[in-house]
Amino acid sequence: MNLGLLLLVPLLTAAAIAFSKGKNMPRVIALGGAFVQLLLCVVLLFAYRTAHQVAPAQGMYFETSYPWFASLGINYHTGVDGISIAMMLLTACVVLAGILVSWNMEKQVKEFFFLLTILSGGAYGFFMALDLFLLFFFLEVAVIPKYLLIGIWGSGKKEYSANKLALMLMGGSALVLVGMLGLYYHSATPADGFSLTNLGKQQIPLDVQLFFFPFLFVGFGIFTALFPFHTWVPDGHSSAPTAASMFLAGISMKLGGYGCLRVAAFLMPEAAHFYSGYIVALAAIAILYGAFATMMQTDLKYMNAYSSVSHCGFVLLGIGMLTPSAISGAVIQMVSHGLMTALFFAAIGMIYERTHTRTIKELGGLLKIMPFISTVFFIAGLCSLGLPGFSGFVAEMTVFVGSWQRPEEMYRVATIVACMSIVVTAVYILRATGMSLMGTIKNKAYEELKDATWNEKVAAVVLIGAILVIGITPFYLTHLIDPGTNQIMENINRYISLN
């Protein structure tokens, strides 16, 4: 299968949107494009399964490579493994749901869907890039439109949030760039300098690794809310329009986790091992501290944003532990959190659109008025607190068991700290659902409000369906990502031995 299709479709969709007119045409085109993307991803999934059966040891599949700036060793080099496919499927689901949720967008409809489609193209490109320069290019494509999305369609202190988000993510990108250039100048031949696959086969000198690993890891880490660089998350998510919040938390934060794993840990395993104690400590702090900070939030979006900080901590914790199941747990958590948080933001958006408030105290008794939306919210909450049957449980447990395989005391403590978050998460989720969905109806005006419309229902069903598939039959996902994590583990084990 030609991976270029997954870039071509968003590009063509965006072009079509740009030339469309009126209110209806852009959204129909965007929806059609998103649907085709999802379809392509599913086709890709099955193509991968067949290809993997034929050649199980291949590593990357459907590789394409064209010279781009041949003199600098930059190639258009793409390819996927199970992990990338999982991330692409996540992207397709979130984008589809995001477009459906924004169906009744009034303001500058054309531009909105145009930017959203460009974002999705950037994400696909990022997940399939096997050339570091290409990867960086797509990382930027996936950042800049967000500045506009928040700045134009946002709410609250949107200018501040947009600036903050763009500056911090740009800062992260700058660090990533420095790290990449460092690798480039220390590769065996300049021709390999940006090639992820070729660099993976070389042993980069230890001092280079130790020096440049923090650049790459912190740079990507900022995207995935690495403590203490997570502060763009609450403001950015809260000011963004619903679809942008969904995309931001669902996919953008995963770009960071994916980069930490695919680039930083994969290419510099010895440095990853050297710094793993710091990573794990920061991740454990983010998990528990983020969860406690969530408890005190009074705004639903802030609550979910802080909870994202806590949940993305699991991704970094899993990567930092460097055991096979912890890493595969980190990947599952990326997918799971992407779906769950998108669902959460979708539900919050639906509530906000009707009640015009996100303050938990002002809501109340919504379950009576809008049972569907409330159930969606509640399901997202249950997934967030790691209930079996939903994807969150699978992810968290895999991270916990994987982390526990590191017997050193410090890692044990970090694991227990991370485990403690399951209680704190339950507290803030139940507090929020108890106050906003249950209880008596606080505002008489709410009684007139309508439940979800068809587009909102479809969006919710897509995301809930994906969450349930992972939660009830986790073996499909683990079979998909295991070869990828094994390959990363092989690279790590080649140079270091744990325990």
Binding site: D207, F211, A293, P371, L382, L387, M397, F400, Q405, P474
Partner: protein
């Protein structure tokens, strides 16, 4: 094989169907659907039980476990994976029978009790989910499977306790139940992690095999590894027990149970009798060989927590004025009996009497406790109040409930020949053999049990002033008469409360799978039975006729009574810890630090940059090309600096 899978699958189907289509399409049919599913489940469970106990189960005089179905669900490492399967062994089969039977009774009863409820379909959907979760927990082959369903039990109880979600007290109670048990589950999870790290397996069979053989390297590893002077095995088993204690409402994690009555009364019957609260007992029983053979210290913890909970709850029960609260504390007390029975037991043969007694009591308790709660439901339906002061003299208007409630009270008080007598005698004799202190505490608690149960009985059905009788004469016309479904269930359970004790339980369930003869020793029984009768007479003295005797006594007790009435102020202590310490001293500072210090740092950084760049604003030419050049120069110089530094390294 297929039939045992169906036992689980049917409630699940009922949950999904009623949950999705119930409100719109099925409506009242969802009650029938749920009940029929449960009925079929129960029949299948009965056939599995018959087949296991009488046909295939016993091999060479010993009941062994078989696994008719198992699949790999989630693989963590080569050794550790979650398997979802069905384990058929004496206790799981017994539990299948108990859970499906009690759940069936509750389903049928609810047909009458919940009639006309707006969220009728949702109710049945949740009820089925609850049953499904409990069944999955019971048949678990893998300790992580137990954990999976354990959590599902937790969430279904949350849904059902908070069923009347517009009532603030129901919302608070459901939250409390979930969070307290979640806190305990943290212990369970940590225990699983510790246990599995050394056992190299999450499978019950493997864990038990590896940890009960003294020569096994896995056991030696976990027994020698220690943390804080306590062996890892003790840690693991104690942590797992904390999980069990949370679900089973053992002191001091019991605080959710009395509030859990905020749910519809049939739900309380299900929570208290057959599901949820016995899960902890079942968990300890499931790992019993490991506790008993390799780690008696952890088992001792179980015994002590059990006996404290039993006595503690019985004392509180004497002072409560809400019919469901009294029953809730009685549940906690009876579960305490089951726990310490396990705690005093050893593994194998006669020494394992406590294990058998505990399971036997679980079995009989399920029947009479379900009956007690369903009777209470009928009474509440009748007088529209939970408070004992609104009752009294009900024997005239509710003759059938009067009789069935009496039978249940006799059963729980341990009066022969009712069900509770047989199981409680076994527990007491096990305690007598192994631990005299626990024995005396238990016997005192047993006497207290009959006192508070008959206090409840007399205050409900007798204890009438003239005013009450009139009020009810009027009430009879307006209040809904209990339907056939409700009375029928009461009669069936009452028969159960009379005959359940005659089951030769030791023949089927024992610690090692070999038959254990049940023996009731008359000379041993004299003391407990006479104490129980004494308790009844005392209750009769105080509460048969309305008088101020009880009030005078309680005033005489002064602060002791007040402390009991306030349940030893445990709730207040928890409220202090959560509100004052966790919210105000941990969560609020975390949020504040994040807003002001961590983010403040970023903002200061941004501000500093702004000030700095303002001072350089002359450079702002507005020419994009020159910006790009500067940007490039900046990146390049960053690279150069880092390369330079690298050379120094």
């Amino acid at each position: 094989m297929s039939s045992s899978v169906l036992i689980l699958l049917l409630p699940f189907i009922s949950f999904v169907v009623s949950g999705i289509w119930g409100r719109k399409y099925l409506k009242n049919f969802s009650g029938i659907l749920g009940t029929v599913c449960m009925l079929v489940s129960f029949i299948l469970a009965a056939s599995v039980a018959y087949n296991y106990f009488f046909v295939t189960g016993r091999v060479g005089g010993q009941y062994l476990g078989t696994i008719p179905f198992e699949m790999n669900w989630l693989r963590f490492t080569n050794e550790l994976s979650i398997n979802i399967g069905i384990l058929i062994d004496p206790i799981s089969v017994m539990m299948l029978l108990v859970v499906t039977f009690i759940s069936l009774m509750v389903h049928v009863y609810s047909l009458g009790y919940m009639k006309g409820e707006e969220r009728y379909a949702t109710y049945y959907s949740f009820l089925s989910l609850f049953t499904f979760s409990m069944l999955g927990l019971v048949v678990a082959t893998n300790i992580f499977q137990t954990y999976v369903f354990w959590e599902l039990v937790g969430v279904s109880s949350f849904l059902l306790i908070g069923f009347y979600f517009q009532k603030a007290s129901a919302v608070a109670a459901s939250k409390k139940a979930f969070i307290v048990t979640r806190f305990a589950d943290l212990g369970f999870l940590a225990g699983i992690l510790v246990l599995s790290y050394y056992s190299g397996s999450l499978d019950f069979k493997e864990i038990i095999a590896r940890y009960t053989d003294p020569a096994n390297p896995h056991l030696q590893a976990i027994a020698t590894a220690s943390f804080g002077g306590v062996s890892a095995l003790s840690w693991a088993l104690t942590l797992i027990f904390i999980g069990g204690a949370g679900k089973s409402a053992m002191f001091p994690l019991h605080i959710w149970l009395p509030d859990a009555m905020e749910g519809p009364t049939p739900v309380s019957a299900l929570i208290h009798a057959a599901t949820m609260v016995v899960a902890g007992v079942y968990l300890v029983a499931r790992l019993f060989p490991v506790y008993a053979i390799s780690c008696p210290a952890a088992l001792h913890v179980v015994a002590i927590v059990g006996v404290i909970s039993a006595a503690f709850a019985a004392l509180i029960a004497c002072t409560q004025t809400d019919i469901k609260r009294v029953l809730a504390y009685s549940t906690m007390s009876q579960i305490g009996f089951m726990m310490f029975a396990l705690g005093v037991s050893k593994y194998g043969g006669e020494e394992g009497l406590g294990y058998m007694a505990s399971m036997f009591h679980l079995f009989t308790h399920a029947v009479f406790k379900a009956l007690l709660f369903l009777c209470a439901g009928t009474i509440i339906h009748h007088v529209h109040s939970n408070e004992l002061k609104d009752m009294g003299g009900l024997r005239k208007s509710m003759p059938l409930t009067h009789i069935t409630f009496l039978l249940a009270c006799l059963a729980i008080a341990g009066i022969p020949p009712f069900a509770g007598f047989f199981s409680k005698e076994e527990i007491l004799s096990a305690a007598f053999q192994h631990d005299p202190v626990i024995y005396w505490a238990a016997i005192a608690t047993a006497a207290l049990t009959s006192f508070y149960m008959f206090r409840l009985f007399f205050m409900t059905f007798y204890y009438d002033g003239e005013k009450k009788a009139e009020a009810h004469g009027h009430d009879d016309h307006s209040a809904g008469h209990s339907s056939i479904a409700m009375t029928g269930v009461q009669v069936v359970l009452a028969i159960g409360a009379v005959v359940a004790g005659f089951v030769p339980f030791g023949q089927f369930v024992s610690s090692d799978g070999f038959a254990l003869p049940t023996h009731i020793d008359i000379s041993f029984s004299v003391l407990p039975v006479s104490l129980s009768i004494g308790g009844i007479l005392l209750a009769m003295f105080f509460f048969y006729k309305k008088s101020d005797k009880a009030i005078r006594i309680s005033e005489g007790l002064g602060s002791v009574f007040v402390t009991l009435k306030h349940k030893f102020y445990i709730d207040e202590i928890y409220a202090f810890v959560t509100k004052k310490i966790i919210f105000n001293l941990i969560a609020a500072p975390a949020a504040w630090i994040d807003k002001n210090i961590v983010d403040g740092m970023m903002n200061t950084f941004a501000k500093a940059t702004e000030v700095f760049s303002f001072s350089l604003s002359g450079w702002q030419s507005g020419k994009v090309q020159s910006y790009a050049a500067w940007f490039l120069a900046g990146v390049l110089s960053l690279v150069l600096i880092s390369l330079y530094l690298l050379q120094l390294l």
